[in-house]
Symmetry: C2
Subunit: 106 residues, 2 copies
Amino acid sequence: MHDLHVFVCTTSGRHHCGGQGSEKVLQRLRDEVERRRLGHVRTTRMGCNQQHHQGPIMIVYPDGVWYGRLRAEDVPEIVEEHLVGGRPVERLRITPDGPWGSTALT
Amino acid sequence: MHDLHVFVCTTSGRHHCGGQGSEKVLQRLRDEVERRRLGHVRTTRMGCNQQHHQGPIMIVYPDGVWYGRLRAEDVPEIVEEHLVGGRPVERLRITPDGPWGSTALT
């Protein structure tokens, strides 16, 4: 499997990803990566992409796969299927709204 | 040019990217993207990747190109050459240290 860089939005605020449980998503992700010793996976927090209406969100690069409306319980499936197996989890994917190049305000 | 997602570390702290001028790097990037109306470029803040010894850092995905020791004055060259021209700026590239899969602590 090629190296993967997984970003989780943890912007705080009630209507942002942080207010929708993204810290639990990130923690579960890091727990799984650590437990399974996935040396090809790097995890990093990110700021707002103006997608919190479908948050919490996660993006996997270089694949360019966006996930949304995540709960911590969804993470093991993403890890097993996508990060290990190379198959994105279609039911959890989202398409970012708005023009791609819109600059986040935060 | 394919869609690009540019991440700039803005973690605060004297020895972190934020303490080395990364806010000015991000602002200059957003100014250039806005001024040139680069609709294929999205810009997002990111947290720590444990690379602040060569910060401030920026990563361009899906290309997987890491830049380091950036000053705001370096940004127009990255925009012109890489984000518009598709040619990474070799003199500003870095290789992330340490095992890829190391989980950032922040």
